[in-house]
Symmetry: C2
Subunit: 229 residues, 2 copies
DNA sequence: CCAAAAGTGTTCACGGTACACCCATGC
DNA sequence: GCATGGGTGTACCGTGAACACTTTTGG
């Protein structure tokens, strides 16, 4: 059997969107090496545990949440000193939670959990800042060719919320009329007959994302893409 | 220090293109567990060795080559029994070699190395078949939005070779006139004043990919994209 | 002169972009 | 009645798609 002194960890970059702001979930562990240091949710993989299972477990243990979208991002292991204690390779996962989960983050036995706006992050452990930067790029590019924006909103949402989400994350201005036209033309964003009262101004229709319709369209060769000038 | 009995390996999926065929590099080790079994180039990461360094080393040791393009593909570790001996997580890398390297593959001390057409693969070790399938998908999609096709050709190439490469890998028919128009419009594919004699028919101009020009265009906001009906 | 592959322009349709005014509500 | 955000249609332009004949060489 091979001798090897490398440890495998997983880390999760969890994004949440609220009040026109993109946030990342960070934790401060209550004991251990990372005491008093903000870091991504994560930890070592257990023997006989799958990678994704490990992420799901850590998310539950350290932040008490289930996420709406989870995919592997990148494996960090070119710098053998990224963890100063010993050689650790970390498989980073990219996760999204919708608005209702966003409000539910609570401290757990293991850690204090808090949302931080992506443009106002505290100092972070290890190379976690670089990992977050990469995730943001991934989020930006995915937004253009996969309908993941909906995973950051509530089950029903206002068109203006969707539009603002795209504006905020992509840091672009978008023509409201063209955006609406394009999104509704897809056919999988449907209006409900409910309205949301506004602080001021005309009440707005609530819309929802029809997952079934989306999947059917994709089977029939539809390719999601949304671009801006 | 954490107790953990998981090993980290790297695997490389190396593509080469020749005679209108996409090939993958496979090896058959001369000793060890994988004797008489075709497999991807790969092996365990050494203590204090970076992941990418490990891939580069294995490529040299087992196939005697340097590649032209290398990027991380995916980390396989959800199935804890993917290697029946013990728990192994494998970081897979996607690599391309140009036509001149293609011809140079030779057996090394460690292994017999051979190219196999992707649609005529032998039985493979572990989950290597699934890894190759994923790589092919990645190659197909990358081809559309990154100029990596050039890494599979010689430094100078015929337009028809480029065109055939796209046709073969994407399994599509392409209009020659539109393809040529589009590619030349980019501005980074330049004709040389050399000609290649054909077996039959009119001699063809050789073209080359101007890396500097491409990089400059990208800096100025150019986004590569090439699609077909 | 025939076979084989290289080289070349034009027309049409669709989708993207730009752009400004009316509507419903709360105060 | 006014401030605030919601909701809507049209005209233009550029890019992508379809499509067929001429050129150069070798045998």
């Amino acid at each position: 059997m091979i001798q090897q002194n490398i440890k495998i960890a997983v880390d999760a970059i969890v994004f949440g969107y609220s009040n026109n702001t993109l946030n990342v979930l960070l934790i401060k562990q209550k004991y251990g090496v990372l005491e008093n240091q903000w870091a991504l949710v994560g930890g070592f993989v257990k023997d006989n545990e799958g990678l994704q299972d490990a992420v799901v477990r850590e998310l539950k243990e350290e932040a008490g949440i289930d996420v709406d979208y989870l995919e592997q991002l990148y494996t960090f292991g070119d710098d053998v000193k990224r963890d100063p204690r010993f050689h650790v390779v970390s498989v980073a996962y990219f996760a999204l939670v919708n608005n209702s989960v966003f409000t539910l983050i609570a401290d757990t036995d293991a850690a204090d959990a808090r949302w931080f706006p992506v443009n106002n992050l505290p100092d972070l452990a290890f190379d976690h800042k670089a990992i977050i930067d990469l995730s943001i790029k991934r989020l930006q590019s995915k937004l253009s060719y996969q309908p993941i924006g909906f995973d950051l909103l509530s089950a029903s949402f206002l068109f203006s919320e969707l539009e603002n989400l795209y504006c905020t994350i992509l840091e672009k201005e978008i023509d409201r009329r063209n955006f609406r036209k394009k999104v509704l033309n897809f056919g999988f964003v449907e209006e409900t007959n409910k309205f949301a009262p506004q602080k001021s101004g005309r009440p707005a229709k609530l819309f929802k994302f029809n997952h079934k319709k989306y999947r059917k369209l994709v089977e029939d060769g539809f390719v999601f893409e949304i671009k801006f000038a």
